[in-house]
């Protein structure tokens, strides 16, 4: 049986994160029922994004220009670099609106079992940035996982001597968290990093 255009649309939609075959069918139906309001603008947006979006040549963030809006923003603190695993982490920090420095996207973490080594990440580019600029602090905002922290330790070793201050994010009780529901590791970390009120 030949694959119809609708089947192909459903198949493509089902490849997106968060969508299984059933929800892809619902999305496809919704698109088909709203061709002018949703489907054609979506197709245009997809084509435009595919043609124009690229990784920033400095930090690895996604933007439509060679150098992203964050790197070119003169109001941001150029002496601070926050190192994140993925662009999604950068967006999360931007959403928090508490950080106004620059970023560096690694593109993942060291994962020996998956064969991801230092050469597969943008670590050399980070070291080069640290060497050739007046950066005073690098914040390693990798995940609080074994791979994430291993990557942070590896990077801090590579940056030794190039930056005055290398920091990592704290980990402990989340805002709104109740002690009773926290895992032992988080509780231990929170207790270890306690501070005076």
């Amino acid at each position: 049986m030949p694959i119809t255009d609708i089947d192909r649309l459903i198949q493509m939609l089902a490849k997106l994160p968060g969508l299984g075959p059933r929800s892809a069918r619902r999305a496809a139906l919704s698109l088909i029922n709203n061709p002018d309001a949703v489907m054609r603008p979506l197709a245009l947006a997809l084509t435009t994004a595919a043609d124009n979006v690229k990784a920033c040549s400095i930090c690895g963030n996604l933007d439509t220009t060679e150098t992203c809006a964050i790197c070119t923003d003169t109001r941001r603190d150029g002496l601070l670099i926050c190192v994140v695993e993925q662009v999604g982490d950068l967006w999360a920090l931007e959403r928090s609106a508490t950080y106004s420095g620059h970023y560096h996207v690694l593109g993942g973490v060291l994962a020996p079992l998956d064969g991801i080594g230092p050469d597969d990440l943008a670590i050399d580019a980070l070291v080069a940035r640290a060497k050739n600029s007046d950066v005073t602090e690098i914040i390693l905002a990798t995940s609080a996982t074994v791979d994430g922290r291993t990557t942070a330790h590896y990077i801090s070793e590579r940056l030794e001597g190039f930056v005055a201050k290398i920091t990592v994010l704290a980990h402990g009780i989340p805002v709104g968290g109740e002690l009773d529901y926290l895992d032992d590791g988080t509780l231990a970390a929170a207790l270890r990093d306690r501070h005076t009120v």
């Binding site: 020996p112 064969g115 996982t145 791979d147 922290r149 070793e157 590791g185 231990a188 970390a189």
Partner: protein
């Protein structure tokens, strides 16, 4: 089919969007894989960190199926070492070597016991010596144990300071003198000449021990593995070599 056992998380690979395939080192069932539905979710993610001890229940329709795990965290080992670069590197190396070396579903109770003791004692000064001892035990369990009881050349049982890279047997100072450039150094704590402490000679001994086990692991266990020994092991050695005690050798 179902069983319950204590397991140590060796690896967790994402499967689809929300599930993970977890590899556990269990006491009675060896290295055993299983699917954890929802294991990549926000609440469960922390449970499947390398080195964590879990109480696991494995269920499958047939024994040869991958099956599914449901795990409860017993001890969050990974969290204890996240801020200690050398210990974290050691924990990663320990899990990666075990994951890469052990065949699936083959019980190795002695090895499990040694692994569990090692992660229990990782805050003590002698954990690196125990790491080398673990790799020695791993070689033995894989059928490539080293014979360090007597000199391969003279039969002497004291002053054993080398290991023959060919036979894996100990060689004494006198017996190995003509070939000492070709022999591997045997650290004192492996020859049974006394345990090492936290001091300088101990750290150097650990490095010699890792060179020794690394040689035989590469030759016998990882010979058919693409890329040889796991990269995490080399990173642990690199970090150890950069630590003050070793660089002052």
């Amino acid at each position: 089919m179902d069983w319950s056992d204590t397991g140590i998380v060796l690896a967790a690979r994402k499967h689809g969007e929300t599930s993970v395939i977890v590899s556990l080192l269990t006491a009675a069932h060896g290295r055993h894989l299983g699917l954890v539905r929802g294991g990549a979710g926000r609440r469960a993610r922390g449970v499947y960190e390398t080195g964590n001890v879990v109480s696991a229940i494995w269920k499958a329709r047939l024994e040869e199926h991958l099956g599914g795990y449901s795990c409860e965290l017993t001890r969050a080992v990974a969290a204890e070492h996240l801020d200690h670069p050398l210990r974290l590197a050691g924990l990663s190396a320990l899990a990666a070597v075990t994951e890469a070396a052990l065949p699936e579903r083959e019980p190795h109770e002695a090895l499990f016991g040694q692994f569990a003791r090692l992660i229990d004692d990782m805050t003590s000064g002698n954990w690196m010596r125990d790491y080398v001892a673990f790799e020695m035990e791993l070689l033995t369990e894989m059928g490539f144990g080293l014979d360090l009881s007597e000199c391969a050349a003279t039969g002497a049982t004291d002053d054993l300071i080398y290991v023959s890279p060919k036979s894996g047997r100990a060689v004494s100072r006198a017996g190995g003198a003509p070939y000492k450039g070709k022999l591997l150094p045997l650290p004192a704590f492996l020859a049974g000449a006394g345990a090492i402490d936290d001091g300088l000679p101990g750290a150097v001994d650990v490095m010699d021990g890792l060179t020794l086990t690394g040689y035989f692991l590469e030759r016998h266990v990882f010979v058919h593995r693409r890329g040889g020994a796991p990269a995490a092991r080399q990173r642990f050695i690199d970090r150890l070599a950069k630590s003050d005690t070793i660089s002052r050798r």
